[in-house]
Every structure is written in C-alpha cells, then in structure tokens.
C-alpha cells in the first residue's frame, strides 16, 4: 500500500484518541452514589422512588409549565396525604436540603449538567435548619383556602 507507514501510524493515533476515555479510566472503579435520606419531617416523596430517580426532571418541567402557563395549583398532595409545594426551590429542596448530596452526586456520576441553579437558589446551610418549615407552607395554604 502506498504510504502505508503514514496511514497506519495516523490510524493508530486516531484509535488511541477516540478510545481515550476507556483507557484513561481503566482500573479505576467508579463509586455509585450513596444517597442519604432527608430529615424525617415528611415521610414520603411526591412520587415513588423509582419514578423520581428516572423522571424527576419530567415532573419538574410539568410543574413549571402547569404553574407558569396555566396558573395550575402551587400545591399537591401525595398518595399518603402529605401536602407539598410544587416547586424545586420551595418544594423539593425543603426536604432534600443538601444539594450536594441530593442533586450533585448523581449528576456528577452520570455526567449530566442541568442548569437549574443558574437561576434557582439552593438552600444555604443555615437555612437548611431554619427556613421553609412546615409553618410557612401552612400559612400559604390558609391564604389559598380563604
């Protein structure tokens, strides 16, 4: 083959480059995420665990479109009868207060980079203890019922 030396060496370099992620990570066992349960003030999540693992982003988009465009309800009720706010910032994060543990761990592991936190505010460490307690949610409910 004419110019075989150049072609073969170039091919080798090419194969080496495209397989870079495989051999770079070879031998390093990746630790699957270990999640902590949130504080026990709410006994259950808005949907079952399996659904939340696979489709929480779908749910968040549904909430957003329903509330923003159709003035949908701001609150929902779980199957177990617990009321929750349909909101990432004010709902999800009021139980799962540790963004690092709750969001980032899996997102890093699966190499997805959602841009939620470009706009939404994560709970601060003090806030995780102080604000967004049940009281505040109940207050809002009263306003609605009125």
């Amino acid at each position: 083959m004419y110019g075989s030396g150049r072609i073969i060496s170039a091919l080798l370099v090419f194969v080496g480059l495209v397989t870079f992620p495989i051999w770079y990570n070879a031998g390093k066992a990746q630790q699957p995420p270990v999640l902590q349960m949130p504080a026990a003030e709410h006994p259950e999540c808005v949907r079952d665990v399996l659904y939340m693992r696979t489709s929480h982003m779908v749910l968040l988009n549904e909430w957003r479109d329903d509330i923003l465009r159709k003035s949908g309800p701001r609150f929902g009720v779980t199957t177990g009868g617990v009321r929750y706010e349909r909101s990432l910032q004010k709902g999800c994060m009021s139980c799962h207060r540790d963004k690092q543990n709750f969001c980032a761990q899996c997102h890093v592991y699966t190499a997805v980079d959602p841009n939620c936190w470009d706009c939404h505010l994560e709970p601060t460490s003090e806030e995780a203890l102080l604000s967004w307690t049940n009281e505040e949610v109940i207050l809002n409910e009263e306003v609605i019922l009125k």
């Binding site: 159709k70 003035s71 706009c119 604000s131």
Partner: protein, 270 residues
C-alpha cells in the same frame, strides 16, 4: 374584524400561498395563535373573563414623594432584580421616569406644571394585544388566561425580538451575569430573596404582575406598598363590579401610547 374581511383573508391565504401554506395560515388564526395578539384582532369572539390591570394615581405619588421608590424597592428586592450601575445594562421591572418621557408628547405646547418633570412609575403594560408575545419565536413570552403577560425564563433564547417589539421599553436583557458583582465588589443583587429565583445571563426579564403572589392570594408587591395611600389600584378590568372598574368609571385616566393598538392594562390618573 368583520366577517367579510376574515373571509377575504382566508381566500387570500389559499390563493397566494397554496393549500399547504393556507393550512398554516389557519393554524395561525386559531389554536396556537390563541395566546398571541392575533386573537384580539377579533378572530376569536369570546371575551376573556379576567383581564388584570392597574390604575396608578400620579397625584398620590406627587403628594408622597418617597412612595414610588418604596414600591420599586419592594418589587426589586422580592424579585431579586440586579442593580447594574451602567444605564445601558440596567434591569428594571418597575421604575420611574419623568412624566414627559413616560408619556412622550413633545409636540404638546405646554404641560401642567405639576406634571412637568414629575417622576411617574413605569412597568410592563400587560397589554391586551401584546406585540412581544406575537414576536417571541419560542413562546417564552405568553399571555395567560388572566391577562398577565408572563415569561418562561427557561425557554428564552435571548434573541431580544421582544425588546424591539415592546413600545414601552419594559423589557430588560441580562447583558451580564445578574449574580455577578459590581466594580466595588458588591453583589448586584444586594440581598437575595431565597424564596424566589434569580435570572441567568442572556435572558430577557420583566414585571410579571407578581403572578407568584397572586397565586397565593396576595397583591402585587407595589400595590401592597402603595395600598395605604390608595395610590395604585389593582384588579380585574373585565369585572364591572371590581374596585378598579369603579375607579376607571369615575376618574379620567390615560394610557401610554394608546394609538399603537396594544391596549395597555396600566392606566394613569393625571
């Protein structure tokens, strides 16, 4: 639009653009376009039950000089509005400008002295026939059933067509990161309201009539701030029994650039 004209348009659609384009034309006139201003050109006959609006009493703001600023502060702190010092990059949901700027009437020979140079509140007009909604290529800006012209910041691509379309200068673009810092190293959002998001770089934002407060039975922040002075009235314009309808019946009010056909929902008592 009367029936003849509508038929003519339909016919024109078929003739000019052929069958395929004509079906697109029909889609334009119904369904998808329902949220846009085209509906309000008369194509759909039903009248919305709710059209939220506002009446601003300029006299009350002349009497209470600091009130406007308090309304602005209330609004901007609740909505995490960044404070860009550079006027070119400013983000304003609610702000004041001179009367003769808010109501551009430079051909008017002489204006009442009390109005000359007086600061007047300006905000999104939540038009009944909003050009911004019409031009948005992603429906990131849309008209809600209650008449609020709202935005979905997740969807905005930052093309700024709405800024060119808005005749009221009510739209703001995040030219720089709103979570950034000013030259003196202070955050642009002085104190974060942790119950409301910020916006991100490269999206357009504006007043949302406090849709999030209305949803939980509260009044818009500026209205609440001005409530004690009866300086701002807020309510359903389409409900003849509402307080705001009463005010509109009794007082002489003006709107900004009424001749443009946008039908603003913000009225001013002069």
């Amino acid at each position: 639009m009367n029936k003849d004209r509508r038929d003519f348009l339909k016919l024109a659609g078929v003739t000019v653009a052929g069958i395929g384009a004509s079906s697109a034309f029909h889609a334009l006139l119904s369904g998808e376009a329902a949220a846009s201003g085209l509906r309000r050109a008369g194509v759909v006959k039903t009248k919305a039950e709710t059209r939220l609006g506002m009446v601003i009493d300029i006299n009350k703001f002349i009497e209470h000089r600091g009130l406007a600023q308090r309304c602005i502060d209330a609004c901007h702190s609740i909505h995490n509005v960044p404070d860009f010092a550079n006027p070119d990059h400013q983000v304003k949901w609610l702000w004041t400008d001179k009367f003769e700027h808010v109501f551009v009437k430079d051909t008017h020979y002489r204006q009442a002295e009390k109005l000359q140079g007086t600061p007047v509140l300006a905000l999104c007009n939540h038009c009944d026939n909003p050009p911004c909604v019409r031009v948005c290529p992603t429906r990131a800006t849309f008209k809600k059933a209650d008449g609020v012209v709202a935005m979905d910041y997740h969807r905005c691509i930052g093309c700024r067509f709405c800024m060119a379309a808005c005749p009221y200068g009510a739209r703001n673009f995040n030219w720089l990161d709103p979570r950034g810092k000013n030259e003196r190293g202070n955050p642009l959002i002085r104190k974060l309201n942790r119950r409301y998001p910020t916006r991100t770089i490269g999206v357009v934002e504006k007043c949302n009539f406090c849709a999030h407060r209305l949803a939980v039975g509260e009044l818009p922040a500026c209205v609440e701030e001005a409530a004690a002075y009866e300086a701002i009235f807020f309510g359903n314009l389409n409900d003849p029994q509402s307080a705001i309808s009463q005010v509109l019946r009794e007082k002489f009010t003006i709107t900004r650039r009424g001749s443009l056909g946008t039908r603003p929902s913000i009225f001013y008592i002069v």
